[in-house]
Symmetry: C2
Subunit: 515 residues, 2 copies
C-alpha cells in the first residue's frame, strides 16, 4: 500500500471522509488512490479559494474537518485567504499540500517554493511528511490537531515520493484533546459581578451560539439584567422562531463602542475582547469603555456552553420561561426590488432548517433583521473579513447538510473573488440558492473612504477604483457559463417567484438583484 492510500485510509478511519480538491501532477497518486478508498468523497473545484472556503463551510456545519488537497506552494497560497477566514471561525480543517519529491527539491524546479514558510502563518499545526512509515500516523495526528477545540487549521505537506512510496499502512485514530472546562472560581466570580446590579454585557461567539448556549445566556441575562450580545461576524449562529435571539455588535466601530459605553463588566464567552474591525484616524481601536472590567468566562477552546449553564445556575436563573423569538414572517414584498425587498422576501419565504451564508455586505446588512422570526435556521458569517468566502462556504455547507436548503447572500464585488464556486455547485448539484446584491460598486469601500477622513473628500480617480459598473457584470451570464440556472427579476414580486421556485426545486440557482 502506498503512502497516498495509507493517508486516505487513515483519514477515513478518523472520520474525515470529504476532500475538496484542485490537484496537480505532484498529487496524482493521491488522486489515483481515491479509487481504492471509495469511502472518501472527493469534490473538485476550479480554484483553490473554493476548495478551502468549502472546507470551512463543511467544518462549520459538520463539526468535523474536511480535507483539502492543494497543489504545491501556489495552490496553497490561492487557498490561504479562505484558510484565514476558517481560522478566525475556529473551523476544524485539514489541508494536504502536495510538494515535490523530497530528492527533487534540491533542483529548485520552476514550481518549487517554500511551502512550509507559506503555510506557517495560517496553520495551527504544520508538518511535512518525512516517510512512508510515518504517513499514517502523521495523518492521524493532523486530524486530532484539526479537531482540538475550538477547531484548528492543520496542514500536512505531502512530498510526492512519500505519496507514491511504500507505507506501513493506515494508522489508528488519535482522540483529540477534550474541550477544557471553564474554571469554577471564575464562574463564581462572574456570578457575583452579575448579582452586583452593575451594568454587565455577555459577549458570545463560536460554540456558545448554539441552542444550549443561547438559552443559558438568555436565562442569565433575564435573571441579572445583563445584556447578551455576540460578535459582529460569528462563525455560526443558530436562530429563528423558537430560539432565544441575541443581537450582533455593530460593524461600525463608533456604533459598537456606543453599544458598550455603559457596560461596567464585559464577560467574554468563547471570544476575545472586542476591537474595531479597522483603525481610523483619531478613533479608538479598543471598543471597551474606559474603566470597564473584562472577564473571560470561557476561552474559545473551553466549554462555553457548560460554563454558561453553570453560570445560569450560579445566578439562580429559572430553567424555563426565558423569551424565545415568536414565529412571525413579513408579508411578501411588492414593488421595486430594493435591498429591503430582498430581505423582506427572504424573511417571508425562508424554509425551516435553511443555512444562510452571509456575504451580502452593505446591501445585505439588514437581512438578518427580516429573518429573526423565520423558522429555525443557521446563519454563517464571514469571520475573518477576507472577501470571497460566501460562495465557497455555501458549497461546503451544502455538502455537509444534503437535506437542507442553503441560501447564499452575496455582494456583486465579493462574489467575483471566487465565482468559480458556481461550477462546483452545478457539478455536485448542490442545493444552494445564491442571491447577488448587485449595486455595481464596492459600496462598503465608498463608506470606508468617507470614514477614514480623506481631506477634501475623495476625487474622481479614487471613486473610480471603487466603481465596478464599468462594465456592468452580468451574473446571469456568469452563472449560466458555469451551468447554474439564473434569473434577474425586475421587481419584488418577480424576486419572490424566483426565490419560491428555487426553494422548491433542488439544485443550484442564482438570482441577480439590481438594487
Amino acid at each position: 500500500m502506498n503512502g497516498a492510500q495509507s493517508l486516505i485510509r487513515t483519514l477515513v478511519g478518523c472520520g474525515v471522509d470529504v476532500c475538496f480538491m484542485n490537484p496537480g501532477t505532484s498529487e496524482m497518486h493521491f488522486v489515483a488512490a481515491l479509487d481504492a478508498v471509495p469511502e472518501m468523497r472527493s469534490s473538485l473545484a476550479l480554484f483553490e479559494g473554493v476548495v478551502t472556503g468549502a472546507a470551512d463551510g463543511y467544518g462549520r456545519m459538520a463539526d468535523k474537518p474536511a480535507a483539502t488537497l492543494l497543489h504545491l506552494g501556489p495552490g496553497l497560497t490561492n487557498g490561504l485567504a479562505n484558510v484565514h477566514n476558517a481560522r478566525r471561525a475556529f473551523t476544524p480543517m485539514l489541508n494536504i499540500v502536495g510538494d515535490h519529491a523530497t530528492y527533487h527539491k534540491v533542483y529548485d524546479a520552476p514550481l518549487n517554493s517554500d511551502v512550509d514558510g507559506l503555510a506557517r502563518p495560517m496553520s495551527d499545526w504544520l508538518r511535512t511528511a518525512q516517510s512512508g512509515t510515518a504517513i499514517g500516523h502523521d495523518a492521524a495526528e493532523a486530524v486530532a490537531a484539526a479537531r482540538t477545540a475550538p477547531g484548528q487549521i492543520a496542514t500536512l505537506i505531502l512530498p510526492a515520493d512519500i505519496s507514491w512510496g511504500e507505507s506501513s499502512g493506515p494508522a489508528q485514530p488519535i482522540a483529540p484533546a477534550a474541550r477544557k472546562k471553564a474554571d469554577d472560581a471564575t464562574i463564581k466570580q462572574i456570578a457575583e459581578v452579575l448579582r452586583s446590579g452593575q451594568k454587565a454585557t455577555l459577549l458570545l461567539n463560536g460554540y456558545a451560539l448554539r441552542e444550549r448556549g443561547l438559552i443559558a445566556a438568555t436565562r442569565i441575562g433575564e435573571k441579572t439584567g445583563a445584556r447578551v450580545t455576540c460578535d459582529t461576524f460569528p462563525s455560526r449562529l443558530e436562530r429563528g422562531a423558537g430560539l432565544p435571539s441575541v443581537a450582533r455588535m455593530n460593524y461600525f466601530a463608533e456604533l459598537a463602542a456606543d453599544e458598550l459605553k455603559d457596560t461596567q463588566h464585559l464577560i467574554l464567552v468563547g471570544t476575545k475582547s472586542p476591537a474595531a474591525f479597522f483603525a481610523y484616524p483619531g478613533k479608538p481601536s479598543d471598543l471597551v469603555a474606559p474603566g470597564c472590567k473584562v472577564y473571560t468566562l470561557a476561552t474559545p477552546a473551553e466549554d462555553a456552553i457548560e460554563a454558561l449553564e453553570h453560570l445560569a445556575e450560579a445566578v439562580g436563573a429559572p430553567k424555563t420561561g426565558y423569551r424565545v423569538e415568536p414565529a412571525r414572517r413579513s408579508d411578501k414584498p411588492t414593488g421595486a426590488l430594493t435591498s429591503a425587498a430582498v430581505g423582506t422576501a427572504i424573511g417571508a419565504l425562508l424554509p425551516e432548517h435553511a443555512i444562510v451564508v452571509d456575504e451580502g455586505n452593505t446591501e445585505g446588512i439588514f437581512t438578518p433583521y427580516y429573518t429573526v422570526g423565520a423558522p429555525r435556521h443557521d446563519w454563517l458569517f464571514n469571520t475573518g473579513g477576507s472577501i470571497g468566502l460566501g460562495l465557497p462556504l455555501a458549497t461546503g455547507a451544502a455538502v455537509a447538510c444534503p437535506g437542507r436548503k442553503v441560501v447564499c447572500l452575496e455582494g456583486d464585488g465579493s462574489a467575483m473573488y471566487t465565482i468559480q464556486a458556481l461550477w462546483t455547485m452545478a457539478r455536485e448539484q448542490l442545493d444552494v440558492t445564491t442571491i447577488i446584491f448587485a449595486n455595481r460598486s464596492y459600496k462598503i469601500l465608498n463608506i470606508e473612504l468617507m470614514r477614514v477622513g480623506v481631506e477634501g473628500g475623495p476625487g474622481a480617480r479614487a471613486r473610480d477604483m471603487l466603481d465596478i459598473s464599468r462594465p456592468d457584470l452580468d451574473f446571469v451570464a456568469l452563472a449560466r457559463g458555469m451551468g447554474v440556472s439564473a434569473s434577474r427579476p425586475d421587481g419584488a414580486e418577480a424576486f419572490c417567484a424566483a426565490f419560491e421556485h428555487a426553494m422548491r426545486e433542488p439544485g443550484p440557482h442564482l438570482i441577480e438583484c439590481l438594487v
Copy 2:
C-alpha cells in the same frame, strides 16, 4: 503631504507610473492620493491574482516595474501564485501591501495576519514601513530593489497610519545596481571548450532571448557547431521572421534528457542547470547527462547579451551571415476546428509586433511551431508553472504596449483560475484577443496521471477529478458576463474570420474553440 502621497510621488519619480490594484479599507488613503498624483495610472481588478499577473506582464514588456496594491494578508496571498511566476521570470515588481495601523495590530482584529511572514517566501526584498519620515525613501529603495538585475520582487508593507500620517515628502530615485559583467576568464574558458569540437549546448533564458542575444548565440552556434536552445518556458522570447530562432527544451523530462544526452559541455546563459519540471518514480530529476560538464557564461543577474557577444568574438564568429527565420506563413486552415487548425490560423494571421501570451498548455503546445515564420513578435510563457497566469499576463502586457495586439492562448481549465481578468480587459478596453482551447479536461493531468505510473491505471474516480466537462463551461457566456465580446466558431474558416475580426477591431475579444 501624507505618507500615501509621498509614496506615490516617489514611485512616479522613480519611473513607476502604473499600479494594478484591488484595495480595501486599509488602503483608502493610497486610493485617495491617486487624485493628487495624476501621473500614476491605476488599474482595478476584481481579484488579486489578476493584479499580480498583470504586473508580471507589464514588467516583462516594459522592462520596469509596475506597482501592485493589495489588501492585507489575504489580499497578498490571493496574489502570491502569480508573484511566484513573476519571480521565476525575474520580472521587476513592486508589491505594496496595506496593513492595519501599527497601533491596531495588538488587537488582532479579524483581518489581522502575519503579512511579513506571508510575503517573505515570495519576496526578494521585503520591508514594513515604519514612519512617515522614511516612507519616501522606503519606496525609492523598493523600486531600486525591484529593478536590480535580473529583476526582483520587492514588497513594501504599508501600515494604514503610515499612509494617512504626515510624511517628509517624496524621496529621490535610487539607481539600481548595474547589471554585472560576466567574468572574462570564464568567457575565455568557454570559448576554448567550444573550439574543442566536442558536443556543446548553449541553454538560454531571460535577457539572453532578446534580439541581440539570439543573434550572438546563433553566431556562436554556427561557428562552433554548438546547439543553441532555451528553457521550456522562458519569460519573454523574441521571435518570428527576420530573427534567429532557438528551439525550446521539451517539457517532458524523458524527452528533454534525450535532447541533452550527447551534450558533453552545457553552457548556461542567464539560466540554471535544467531539471525535470516534476519528479517521476524511477526517473532522474537532473536532465544533464552523466559526465557532462556545466559552465555558467552568465547568471540571470549578469549581462548575458554582452557575454554572448564577447564569446562570439572569442570564437571568431562572423558578424553577419547568420541564419534568420525566413518570412513564411501557413495557408488559412479549413475544415474542423482542431488545435492544429487554431495554431495554423494564428500562424497565417498573427500581425506584426504581436505579443503572444501562452498558457495554452496541452492543446496549445504546437502553436509556437506554426508561428515561427510569422512577422516578428514576442512570446511570453508561464515561467513558474502556477496556472492562472495567462489572462492576467495578457492584461499587463497590453497596458505596457498600447500599440500592439496581444493574443492570449488559454486552456479552459487554466483560464478559470483568474477568469476575472476579462473584466479588467473590458474596463480598460485592452487590445487582447483571448483564445480558449476548450478540451473540457485537465488534459495535462491525464497525461501526468499516466506518467507518474499509477498501478493498474487510473480508475473512474481519479479520472473524474480531471474532468471539467460536468458541467461544460461556456466561455462565451462568461466573457459576455464580464463585458468582453465573444464567439464560438464552429470550424476553421469561422475561426479565421473571428480571429481576423479581432485583429482588425481594437479592444478585448474572446474566441472559444472546442477542440
